[in-house]
């Protein structure tokens, strides 16, 4: 076992795991802020109950997102110290700014929101959740800006004296077109996740409260929440298509090897067809059979037109790369790149179909009560998260073997392969941390899932039926706290 593989497994596991919780946080925060805003604006207590209900689920999830995020920042230095030396001058700034300009806001104002329900004036308390909602998105911006430097380094040059990449322009770094497209894509994917979560949980509750027949909650609470979630999911899907398309077009140009692998396009071709199913006996170009193909799609994805598009194949790019960067294998894992790309798109179909179904079933004040509908809701719930995971696996695995991919039009010396970025550890040490993290993450995932499920099944709680009256001044010394851990 070599240290590069173990370190890559650790990074992959901790990152994909972290990004289970992140899109829920980023997507739910603004939607909870919207719910609370509707309550404050209309005084309709149904929206208060929804805010409290989804607020609890949000907090259960947020805890694990924060806990696993700490690891992300530290493991660059721990496992990827040579990478840190090479890019620290560029890469550290967005991480530090994320702390200063986003994460501080997020954590501090979330604390105010949790504990401030009857302590802060209503509008100030509402402002707290909005600050959290903006800050989590700002967090995403800084992190994506850093990640995009690994995909498409801009705003930096190689300094031969210090033997590292050095920042030239922070504004160029932050306006990296790769980063802006990826940021749009990530945020809309998160909104899709949040919208689908709200729609699915509420739909499940529509059917359940219908069968309980004890109250009108299905009509007053869950139906509006379902509709809100569905529209957000559909709007997010449209935005996902546009942002994803922009990303794809940039990628064909900036990281042609990644897109060629994603399409299992082995040889340079004019107007190649888009592959829906390609199978191979081995994970390389020699044994591929393209089973189902569609014309016109791939040229459009790459260049925005249907004809006269020549795309380079994996073999040719490999030959060119060897000439430019010396001997080596510059091909990513074909199987993973190809299938993660398709999984990302495939999983997207579930929330879209579900949202259309749910909107149809709830049209004109209707209350659906089919068991199949609540089952469909539960089935749909995790699919946006799976799509996000697949998307990250695609974009990060497709970048291999680079840890900083070369920019075809940038400083030709700003690039680094993964094997040169790793810390000089004995593999056993990284194995220890890999095993530690995997075990504790597995345990925490089980608890997280169980807690979310328990709170979803419980539904909005009795004690959240009415907003508490603001505490009278001077009652602080004796009155019970409105909320305590």
């Amino acid at each position: 076992m070599n240290v590069v593989d173990v370190s890559r497994w650790q990074f992959g596991i901790t990152t994909v795991y972290h990004f289970i919780f992140v899109p829920l946080t980023i997507g739910l925060a603004p939607l909870i802020a919207v719910m609370q805003t509707i309550w404050v604006a209309t005084d309709n207590v149904a929206w208060y109950r929804l805010t409290k209900f989804f607020g609890k689920l949000f907090l259960i999830n947020f805890a694990l997102g924060v806990a696993t995020g700490i690891v992300q920042e530290f493991q660059f230095g721990m496992n990827w110290s040579e990478y840190s030396r090479f890019v620290g001058d560029v890469f550290g700034a967005p991480l530090a700014m994320e702390g200063l300009a986003a994460f501080f806001f997020e954590s501090t104002f979330l604390g105010l929101w949790i504990f401030g329900w009857s302590r802060l004036p209503r509008l100030v308390h509402l402002a707290c959740i909005w600050i959290v909602a903006v800050a989590v998105n700002l967090s995403a911006f800084f992190i994506i800006a850093a990640n995009s430097f690994m995909q498409h380094p801009v705003g930096a040059h190689y300094n031969p004296t210090t033997k590292r990449a050095e920042l030239e322009s922070i504004s160029t770094l932050f306006t990296n077109n790769t980063g802006l497209a990826a940021f749009g894509h990530t945020v809309t994917a998160s909104l899709l996740t949040g919208g689908t979560f709200i729609a699915a949980v509420s739909s499940w509750w529509i059917v359940r409260s219908h069968s309980q027949t004890e109250n009108g909650d299905a009509r007053s609470i869950y139906r509006p929440a379902t509709i809100l979630g569905c529209w957000v999911a559909l709007a997010a899907t449209v935005a996902l298509f546009f942002s994803g398309d922009a990303q794809g077009k940039l990628m064909f140009h900036q990281q042609p090897m990644k897109m060629a692998s994603a399409e299992s396009l082995c040889d340079t071709q004019t107007d190649p067809e888009f592959s829906i199913l390609t199978v191979g006996r081995q994970n390389n170009c020699d044994s591929l059979t393209r089973v189902i193909e569609v014309p016109y799609v791939l040229p459009f994805l790459a260049k925005g037109r249907f004809h006269d598009v020549t795309l380079q194949g994996v073999r040719d790019i490999q030959r060119d790369d060897q000439q430019r960067f010396g001997a080596g294998d510059y091909r990513p894992n074909l199987f993973v790149t190809y299938w993660s790309f398709r999984a990302m798109i495939g999983f997207l179909l579930f929330p879209v179909l579900f949202a259309l179904t749910a909107l149809w079933l709830t049209r004109g004040g209707r209350i659906p009560n089919g068991r199949w509908f609540s089952r469909l809701a539960l089935l749909t719930l995790p699919t946006p998260i799976l799509a996000s995971s697949a998307g990250w696996v695609f974009t990060e695995m497709g970048r291999q073997p680079w840890i900083v991919a070369p920019n075809p039009t940038g400083d030709p010396k700003v690039h680094l392969v993964v094997a040169d970025g790793v810390s000089h550890h004995a593999p056993v040490m990284v194995v220890i941390s890999l095993v530690t993290f995997t075990l504790i993450y597995a345990v925490l995932a089980v608890i997280w899932f169980w807690l979310l499920k328990r709170y979803v099944v419980e539904g909005p709680q009795e004690h959240d039926a009415e907003p508490a009256a603001p505490a009278p001044p001077g009652a602080d010394e004796v009155a019970p706290l409105s909320f305590a851990y």
């Binding site: 947020f62 702390g99 949790i114 419980e458």
Partner: protein, 346 residues
């Protein structure tokens, strides 16, 4: 003075912010169970009274560490790479502690079940004791130095990590945070929890003074500079003032302030002893990781200086406001019944 010297100071300030704020969070986490067990009657409201003194603020406090880590990456990538890769296992333990503590605090009240709370309390305790000791060990290691070679790589042996000096450092920070946390609980609570927190502080004050003085004097004699004698003097005076105030069993605000001054002085002493090194080399002083050979370019430092100048005061302002919003004392009687769900669906 070059920008990298400024950033050495800013890094110290960020770590200081972390230790000043998380210091009492760690203390609260370590003392939650001992204080709960001191009084008669139901322990659960007492535990929760102690925990909720940091309830709204602990997460924001922890961001000081994340920002310090990010700033180290941005301003001194050479230090970030060398320190984080060489102190691999201690950092792993710290991360482990932080993860467990974060989820334990947030999830503790989610289920109304004694066994569940027992696990959460274990997580909070472990996640507080581990970093409280290990941060002291880590700083002592950095002051003492590591076998850094000419390429800034470190081939670590056990004695670099575990020595009398580093262990004393761990005990000193742990003791400091215990005392500081006890005073913080006294400051933030009323009723029997308040009185018990003072009892803990009184009992801790003398042993902690011995540990801190021992660590401070050792640091000064082995690694200090002429001007850090002054800092050590401030630490000693502030510590004695803390002890005197604790023994009055009143004036917890002043005692808290003095205790914070002790922590500040210790941090200044440690960073002062290091400067201009970031990681002194025990093999050859020429190979040390220093503020000049490990820093980022002047441009990056300039950008980061702007970012810090704009955002750091803002952070201090709104975090101070948070402490103002939640300024009232908590007593065990004010703790509401658990709103957590039963373990099983009824």
């Amino acid at each position: 003075m070059a920008l990298h010297d400024v950033w050495f100071g800013l890094l110290a300030v960020l770590f200081l912010g972390f230790l000043i704020l998380e210091g009492f969070d760690f203390g609260v986490g370590m003392l939650m169970e001992p204080i709960a067990r001191m009084g008669s009657g139901d322990r659960e409201p007492r535990r929760r009274a102690v925990l909720n003194t940091i309830g709204p603020v602990w997460d924001g406090n922890e961001v000081w560490l994340l920002t310090a880590g990010g700033a180290m990456f941005a301003a001194f990538p050479g230090m970030y790479a060398t320190v984080f890769s060489s102190l691999y296992l201690p950092l792993l333990a710290i991360l482990f502690g932080m993860i467990v503590r974060a989820v334990s605090i947030e999830w503790r009240g989610k289920v109304d079940d004694p066994k569940w709370r027992g696990w959460a309390d274990f997580g909070i305790a472990a996640g507080s004791w581990l970093p409280a000791v290990l941060w002291g060990v880590a700083f002592a290691i950095l002051v003492r130095g590591l076998p850094v070679d000419a390429e800034h790589q470190v081939n670590l042996s056990v004695t670099d990590v575990l020595s009398a000096y580093t262990l004393l450092g761990g005990l000193a920070t742990c003791g400091l945070f215990l005392l500081y946390g006890a005073i913080f609980v006294a400051l933030k609570t009323s009723g029997s929890v308040h009185d018990d927190a003072f009892r803990v502080a009184v009992r801790l004050s003398l042993p902690v003074t011995v540990l801190v003085a021992g660590f401070g004097i050792w640091t000064q004699l082995a690694h200090g500079k002429a001007w850090t004698w002054l800092v050590l003097g401030v630490a000693v005076v502030a510590q004695l003032a803390t002890v005197a105030l604790v023994f009055t069993r009143r004036h917890e605000g002043w005692a808290f302030l003095c205790s914070a001054v002790v922590i500040t002085a210790v941090v200044v002493l440690l960073f002062g002893a290091m400067y201009p090194n970031l990681v002194p080399s025990t093999l050859d002083p020429r190979w040390s990781v220093t503020v000049s050979n490990a820093s980022s370019s002047a441009y990056t430092l300039k950008i980061m200086t702007w970012a810090a100048a704009i955002f750091a005061p803002l952070v201090v302002a709104y975090q101070s406001w948070t402490y103002w919003v939640f300024r009232q004392r908590i007593s065990a009687d004010q703790i509401p019944p658990s709103i957590g769900l039963a373990r099983r669906t009824p």
